[in-house]
């Protein structure tokens, strides 16, 4: 059997399951990568219950907290990963720079390592066995339509500002949505959380009470669950302020609609994604999978994703696949010197514009919390259901 006969089946959400990546894999590595895009619920569900239906899972770190203990994924030997040392600190020891504080929530490094091959636990330090290889990550904040709002927005608290009644929206993925809600409540000064990533039942109750009241008052136009919904809500003018993902804002902008990724004084809510290997993967296919991971971290994909507004786990390697202008704009937060385009050729920014939120350090250095799975997760889910049904 030759490597070009191998087919690896990868699934994930449409965020990173891009066909261009598969094409490039075919070109560079010779084997076939089959991409299946699913919605986020289905991703979790498949990773947790159908280990035979995939070879590579492209999931988020907080989901790993649920999926890893099932044993459906296998630990990865860091020694086989060429660029391991160049992976940003966030995914290794939690610190962007040696003196950063670690944000609240399920920080990626806390679920990034396991005790060894076959392990279903998490260990705090770099054990040499990784659960997921980080791929992309970003910091999220509120997206706004400056043309329809017409004034500066500085705080998460604005989401519940009655001024935007019927024109606000929130993410309806409970684990993430509650974080945004917590950011809002904290910004309003209503609640002081011990750890937003791991709330007490009391904190959950109070958060949901505030949100429920706002919902009943008609604050929200809609909730969204998929990337595309958030884009449509924003670009159709249904909503002028909502919690949003950075590339979604980019997508709205690429249609020529003004939309701002609004840095806020309370900081960002952040997330990271990574790829894991199915435990049923072995032999040549496993070798191919390692080859794929190494390739993934070697820069091309990083550049490709960075151009859409994500960050690469190994920025250094990506740099070689980007122009100085691009690197300056996307990573260093500098003014563009020429028009900036996304990988599909759509112009996103003209010369002279700067990226919202600034440089990599400015963004990722101001993470207030990570998407997470709480100890009181089940309780939180039920409360969230109540909120939706209210």
């Amino acid at each position: 059997q030759e490597i070009k006969d191998i087919t690896l089946r990868q699934f994930g959400t449409g965020v990173s399951n891009l066909n261009e990546v598969a094409q490039k894999v075919k070109e560079d590595l010779g084997f076939t990568l089959e991409m299946t895009a699913l919605d986020s619920d289905a991703v979790t569900q498949r990773a947790a219950t159908q280990p035979d239906s995939f070879d590579i899972a492209d999931i988020e770190y907080w989901i790993a907290k649920k999926v890893w203990p099932t044993g459906n994924l296998q630990a990865m030997d860091t020694s086989k990963i060429a660029n391991y040392d160049k992976i940003v600190g966030i995914f290794r020891n939690g610190k962007l720079t040696p003196d950063s504080t670690i944000a609240q929530g399920t920080a990626p490094h806390t679920v990034g390592f396991t005790s060894g091959p076959g392990g279903t636990d998490f260990v705090a330090e770099e054990s040499g066995w990784m659960t997921l290889i980080p791929t992309i990550y970003n910091a999220d904040t509120l997206g706004i339509r400056p043309d329809l709002i017409g004034r500066p927005i500085e705080s998460w608290a604005e989401l519940l500002n009655p001024e935007f009644k019927g024109k606000a929206s929130l993410l309806d993925i409970s684990s993430i949505g509650i974080m945004d809600a917590a950011m809002v409540c904290e910004a309003m000064g209503e609640i002081q959380y011990g750890d937003k990533g791991n709330m007490t039942t009391d904190e959950i109750d109070r958060t949901m009470a505030i949100m429920t009241e706002a919902k009943r008052a008609g604050q929200f136009r809609s909730f969204w669950k998929t990337f595309d919904e958030s884009v449509n809500l924003m670009s159709s003018g249904e909503v002028v302020i909502q919690s949003m993902w950075s590339p979604a804002i980019t997508a709205v902008k690429s249609r020529g609609i003004p939309c701002v990724y609004q840095p806020l004084k309370e900081g960002y809510r952040s997330w990271g994604g990574g790829i894991g290997l199915s435990s049923s993967l072995d032999g040549m296919a496993l070798d191919a999978a390692y080859e794929y991971i190494n390739w993934y971290l070697s820069g091309w994909v990083g550049g490709f994703l960075m151009r859409q507004g994500y960050y690469s786990a190994v920025p250094e390697t990506s740099k070689t696949f980007m122009t100085a202008n691009e690197w300056g704009y996307w990573f260093e937060g500098k003014q563009a010197v020429e028009p900036i385009t996304n990988p599909f050729g759509d112009v996103l920014a003209q010369a002279g514009e700067v990226r919202d939120g600034g440089s990599f350090e400015e963004r990722m250095g101001k993470v207030a919390c990570w998407n997470s799975v709480m100890d009181e997760n089940q309780y939180m889910v039920r409360k969230w259901n109540e909120f939706i049904a209210a």
């Binding site: 089946r9 699934f11 959400t13 449409g14 965020v15 399951n17 891009l18 066909n19 261009e20 094409q23 089959e34 991409m35 299946t36 895009a37 699913l38 919605d39 986020s40 289905a42 569900q45 219950t49 159908q50 035979d52 239906s53 995939f54 998929t226 990337f227 595309d228 919904e229 884009v231 449509n232 670009s235 159709s236 979604a248 997508a251 249609r255 020529g256 599909f344 759509d346």
Partner: protein, 278 residues
């Protein structure tokens, strides 16, 4: 022929509005599919072009429309054939009023009314607990059958309620075996209804979402794929797909009606002097 009463025009207007309502989304889709390359899924229109129709035949950023279309199509055909076969056999069986048929009938009704997500969940659970791999052609196929087969069966009930058993007796009288009776008499006579069952089975399967959701396995059917595509920026390309589907359906149905018309005209011609003699 009597002149049409006033109520006809009122009802015709209501029917027209109903059609307009049914086609509302279809029309929106059609309009939006002709946007320029900057177009999104919402109004206002951004340019006018055939860009998205061209794009439909190229690879998308996310997902594999034609691959999943192929799977949906194959699955639709599998479901269609199975539905026709199973419901014809079932329809024949129920005419025999065998012991236990009442219970089986209750099950058929249950299958029809049980919420789709339960079937999806249940089949998914069974497969995962039994350690079987879920696949659109196994678990997905089965889950869809719980919906199409009862429908097909109901149609077969309607058909056999109107089927004159004298045809079968005549065939038996003429020395046809049980199988020959079915093959040469029953099936040809009910063939038009079978076409209906087939069409129905295919349509229901082709657009089935809930029952396939937890049972499709590693590869998506078209509805799942489209749903999955919404986890990234979806472009008017899915509207182009919708428009193309609609045009295709019009062509198919138009052809069907023309054949029907031609057949009846041919028949009318052949029998023009029927009833004159004797």
């Amino acid at each position: 022929m009597n002149p049409r009463p006033r109520s006809f025009y009122v009802l015709a207007a209501i029917f027209g509005l109903f059609l307009l309502f049914l086609y509302g989304p279809t029309i929106t889709i059609a309009i939006l599919s002709f946007q320029g390359p900057e177009g999104g899924l919402t109004f206002p229109m951004r340019g006018v072009s055939l860009h998205w129709f061209r794009d439909l035949f190229q690879e998308q950023a996310v997902g594999d429309i034609w691959g999943s279309f192929g799977r949906s199509f194959v699955l639709g055909l599998m479901v269609m054939v199975t539905t026709v076969v199973v419901s014809v056999m079932g329809g024949l069986a129920f005419r025999k009023r065998f012991k236990g048929s009442a219970v089986l009938f209750q099950l058929v009704i249950a299958s029809l009314v049980i919420p789709s997500i339960l079937v999806s969940l249940g089949v998914g659970l069974i497969f995962s607990q039994a350690g079987l791999p879920v696949h659109w052609a196994s678990s997905g196929f089965g889950a869809q059958l719980t919906w199409t087969v009862p429908f097909g069966l109901l149609i077969m009930f309607a058909v056999f309620n109107r089927f004159n058993p004298a045809y079968e007796e005549a065939a038996r009288d003429q020395g046809a075996t049980a199988w020959q009776t079915i093959r040469h008499v029953v099936l040809p006579i009910i063939a038009p209804s079978l076409l209906g069952v087939a069409l129905f089975g295919f349509t229901l399967s082709y657009d089935e979402f809930a029952r396939t959701l937890l049972t499709a396995g590693s590869r998506n059917t078209l509805p799942l794929e489209i749903y999955g595509m919404t986890t990234n920026v979806t472009t008017p390309v899915i509207f182009a797909l919708g428009t193309l589907t609609t045009v295709f359906s019009f062509v198919v149905i138009g052809a069907f009606l023309l054949t029907l018309g031609a057949a009846s005209r041919r028949r009318a011609k052949a029998g023009s002097d029927a009833g004159r003699a004797v």
